[in-house]
């Protein structure tokens, strides 16, 4: 993709990140160095299948939970929250309790 294309700016766990148009949310989350979800036993997880089947890549987008990030393209202003955010950690520890 040419460098002249204007990047999209979105946020992953509150931190801004710029990506090229056509980038999937899963790629943006990996670029931000975040895990997509925390497993029942508390392990960080990231995409496995890349095609919408394994559900390891699910994140919260603009407040909507359980979205498969590998199947969704980034848009400017998107707020992405992953399991490794504070809220995600709280939820994971609540589920373990």
């Amino acid at each position: 993709m040419p460098e002249t294309v204007r990047p999209l700016v979105l946020s992953v766990n509150g931190a801004p990140i710029a990506v090229q148009p056509g980038t999937t949310v899963a790629a943006a989350v990996l670029m931000a160095g975040a895990a997509t979800r925390i497993s029942i036993a508390g392990e960080p997880r990231a995409p496995l299948c890349g095609m919408g089947i394994c559900f390891e890549c699910r994140v919260t987008i603009d407040g909507v939970p359980h979205q498969r990030s590998c199947q969704i393209l980034c848009r400017s202003g998107m707020q992405i929250d992953t399991g490794s955010s504070k809220a995600g950690e709280d939820y994971a520890s609540w589920r373990r309790a």
Binding site: T23, A27, A46, C49, G50, G52, C54, Q71, I72
Partner: protein
């Protein structure tokens, strides 16, 4: 949305595109429904330079009268000749989907149905396989096509099947440092398969091109990862070839053990299986009259065969029987390649000893190998451990359990994908018991 079509095609990969285009060009009213936001399936996933055949078929689809329902997944078939499909993401409106802000469950009525649901990678559990940055070979390829920077990253590609070389070559062209390509099949298996390719000059040339692109990383046969290491993220992989074990540092492990067909929807519709695939006659009709199946779910055969099968199924479903029979003869000549590929990718029984007691097999519910080993079949494992009962519905651990323990999934029930409670309610309006059961489950899950 409620609409009636002559033919509904499920899946917009090569088989589904060929089927939809062929049926529409015969004057029928056709819809194609697919989970992804654009046509092409996984093999022609957008974001990179597509091969000429892909550009040709996708352009033909876009010129045709086919009604595209991208970004929708089929989750139920509550009565004959009816499918229910909900948006793949609530955000489809934000993504500029043709569906707009329409979050409702689509009811697609059909006279004939063509299932072109494709395949997924087979994953085998080994210590560390749940670490971030350990993923499928096709998965890393898809993520890179979806914008993940790969230049100067060290990648180990492992598993089995022709996908490994294709992925390694693509990543190398994008600037990745391919540290190793590990094929579990033996040298003899690979030589036999390569000899068979002499009958498929196009595929041989393609394979040679891939091999050339990754020539700096030697293809190792009879070699596989036995453990992935890292704290919170992959740092290194232990590889094994024969009696040799060694560690290799890497940023990504792209590991997939060939493909397994997506046969959940065919099974829900009552189509009989045949050796893990969907049973079809020579014109690709399944055991259910009026339902056809094309592409990988009838046998893993690659793009050219999938295109041909899509055409056959569409001709058969639209009453062009003579044309379908002609094409079916061409298909017969390609079946030996399917069998040869199956033999080349046959898994080494030693791979069954990859997981150790605390290795997770079911990633959704964190179920260990030790917990499963104590069970005697898939049903018992589900009831006692929740294996296969998370959101992937056993699509990942099911194929692993089949190889590790010889268990077969005994039944498929709706919804075949996790679905919104509102979608379930509208689909289940015909079936009060389903609606009641699902609203209970989904309240907890959402």
């Amino acid at each position: 949305m409620r609409e009636q079509f002559d033919i509904v095609v499920v899946g917009a990969g090569p088989a589904g595109i060929a089927a939809a285009v062929t049926a529409a060009e015969a004057g029928l009213r056709v819809a194609v429904v697919d989970d992804n936001s654009a046509p092409g399936g996984q093999i022609w996933r957008s974001g990179a330079h597509l091969p000429r055949a892909a550009q040709h078929w996708i352009a033909r689809l876009q010129r045709s009268s086919v009604v595209p329902l991208h970004g929708r997944r089929v989750f139920d078939a509550p009565e004959p000749n009816l499918l229910c499909a909900e948006p793949s993401a609530f955000l489809s409106a934000l993504n500029g989907s043709s569906l707009g802000a329409n979050y409702d469950c689509a009811e697609l009525r059909f006279t004939k149905l063509i299932l072109a649901t494709g395949a997924r990678e087979r994953f085998l559990p080994f210590p560390g396989w749940t670490l971030p940055n350990v993923m499928g070979a096709g998965a890393l390829d898809a993520l890179v096509r979806g914008g993940l920077p790969i230049a100067r990253k060290r990648v180990v590609v492992a598993g089995t099947g022709p996908l490994l070389l294709a992925v390694a070559a693509h990543l190398a062209r994008r600037g990745a440092r391919i540290a190793a390509v590990c094929e579990q099949a033996s040298f003899t298996q690979i030589v036999r398969f390569a000899a068979r390719l002499l009958f498929e000059p196009q595929k041989l040339a393609q394979g040679a091109g891939y091999a050339l692109a990754v020539r700096s990383a030697r293809l190792r046969t009879g070699c596989w990862p036995v453990a992935a290491h890292g704290a919170g993220r992959l740092r290194a992989v232990t590889l094994r070839q024969g009696n040799n074990l060694w560690d290799i540092d890497c940023d990504y492990l792209a590991c997939g053990f060939h493909l397994v067909p997506n046969i959940e929807l065919p099974a829900l519709l009552g189509c009989s299986p045949a050796g893990g695939f969907v049973a079809v006659n020579e014109l690709l009709e399944t055991s259910v009259p009026g339902i056809y199946c094309a592409g990988e779910p009838t046998g893993i055969g690659g793009v050219e065969l999938a295109l041909l099968e899509g055409e056959i199924a569409a001709c058969a479903a639209s009453g062009q029987t003579a044309r379908a029979q002609n094409l079916a003869r061409r298909r017969c000549r390609k079946i030996p390649f399917v069998r040869a590929l199956e033999r080349a990718c046959a898994l080494d029984p030693q791979l069954r000893s990859l997981p150790v007691d605390d290795t997770l097999v079911c990633r959704c519910e964190d179920v260990t190998y030790a917990a499963l080993r104590a069970r005697s079949n898939w049903r018992e494992a589900k009831l006692h451990t929740r294996c296969g009962m998370g959101p992937c519905q056993g699509r990942i651990c099911g194929a692993a359990a089949e190889f590790l323990f010889g268990w077969n999934a005994d039944s498929v029930r709706p919804p075949v994908f996790p679905a919104l409670v509102s979608s379930l309610a509208s689909a289940g309006a015909r079936d009060e018991s389903l609606a009641a059961a699902s609203s209970h489950n989904s309240k907890e899950n959402r």
